[in-house]
Amino acid sequence: MNASSDEGQAPSSRFMWFWRGSRQAFGVPGLILFGSMLGFGGLAAQSGLPLDITIAMTAVIWALPSQVVLVGAIAGGLSLLTTAIAVTLSAVRLLPMTVALMPLIGAGKPSRISLLAASHFMAVTPWVAALRLMGNIPVHGRVSWYLGLGATLSATNTIATVLGFWGGSNLPPALSAGLVFLMPVYFLVSLTIAAKVRTDYLALGFGLVATPLATMWFPEADLLIGGVGAGTLAYLAHRTQRKAGAT
C-alpha cells in the first residue's frame, strides 16, 4: 500500500490512477461545466467564429472566462496586443491556483515535464476537485490522477463546445441565453467557495463593481483598471484593518 515515492512506478499503477481521475470528470461539477461549454459554443457561433477556431479555443485555452473574453475581443476587432492583454489578465487566477496545488500534486517529486503537462488542465473545475480529493490519493499516483481528470474534462468539454456551436443557433433564445448565463453564475459561486481569507471576498465584491464602471470610461482597459485596481484596494483594505487591529 505505502509505496515509497522515489521508487519507479509500474505503468499499470499509473494507468489505474489516470482511469480513476477520468471517472471523477463525470460528477455534478463536470455536468455544469459541460452546460457552460455548450453555452460557449453557441456564443462563438453567434459571434460569427468558424467551428475549428472555436474548438481550438476550448482545447488550447481551457479557461472559460478567458475564452469568453477572447470571443468578445475578436468580435470587437481589437488588435493582437490588446486582446492578449485582456485574455492574460482574465487568466491571472491560474497562477495562485497552480501554486496552491503544487504541494499536493508535487508531493511525490514528479518530473517537471509531467507537472507542466498537467498544468495545462488547471482550471476551476479540476482544481476544486483536486483540493477536495487529492489528499486521499497516494503521492505517486497524483499526477496521473490529475492528468486523467483534466484530459477527460478537456475532451468532454471540447465535445460540448462542438454541440453548442451546432445547436446554439437553433435553440430558443431563452435556452441559449441560459447556457451562456451558466458561466458567470458557476464562476461566481466557485470563486466564493475557493475564497480563503477576507481579502478574497473583498476582491470579489470590489471587482464586480469596479470593472463595469471602468468599462464605461475605459472600454479597452476595463479589466486592467477595474481588476488590478479592485484587487489592490481589497489587499490594502485588509492590510490597513489588520494593522489597526494589531496596535
Binding site: 468578445g72 495562485p96 448565463f181
Partner: protein, 118 residues
C-alpha cells in the same frame, strides 16, 4: 497596420492569433505556477495581493458578461440578469454554500423570465 483577428494576413493568421492571444496568454500563468510553486509561500504579502487581483479580475469578467452580454443573453432585460444571479447567489448562501441549488434558481429565473417576455 491592423493586427486584429480579422486582418488580412494570410490563411494561418487566425490560428496564430488564437495561439498567442489564447494559448500563450493563459498557459504562461500555469507554467509560472509550476516554477514558482515550491519557492513562494502562500501566506506571503505578495501572494495575498496576487490572489486578490486574480479574484477581482475574474469578478470583473463575471460582471461584464452579466451587464454587457453578447449574443442571445443580451435579449434578457438587465434587471432580469442581475436579479437572477443575485437570487441564485443568495440561495447558494442560504443552503449552506451548496452550489447546485443556487445555480438552478439563477437559471430558472433567467429562463423563466425570458420565456415570460421580460
Amino acid at each position: 497596420m491592423n493586427w486584429s483577428y480579422h486582418a488580412d494576413l494570410g490563411p494561418l493568421w487566425p490560428y496564430v492569433f488564437i495561439l498567442i492571444a489564447g494559448f500563450v496568454a493563459t498557459d504562461c500563468w500555469r507554467w509560472a505556477g509550476v516554477f514558482l510553486g515550491n519557492s513562494i509561500s502562500e501566506d506571503s504579502e505578495l501572494f495575498v495581493w496576487v490572489r486578490a487581483v486574480a479574484s477581482a479580475l475574474v469578478a470583473g469578467v463575471i460582471a461584464k458578461v452579466v451587464l454587457f452580454p453578447q449574443g442571445s443573453l443580451a435579449q434578457a432585460h438587465v434587471a432580469l440578469r442581475i436579479g437572477a444571479i443575485g437570487a441564485g447567489y443568495a440561495v447558494f448562501f442560504l443552503t449552506g454554500r451548496r452550489f447546485v441549488p443556487g445555480i438552478i434558481v439563477a437559471e430558472a429565473i433567467l429562463i423563466g423570465g425570458m420565456l415570460a417576455g421580460l
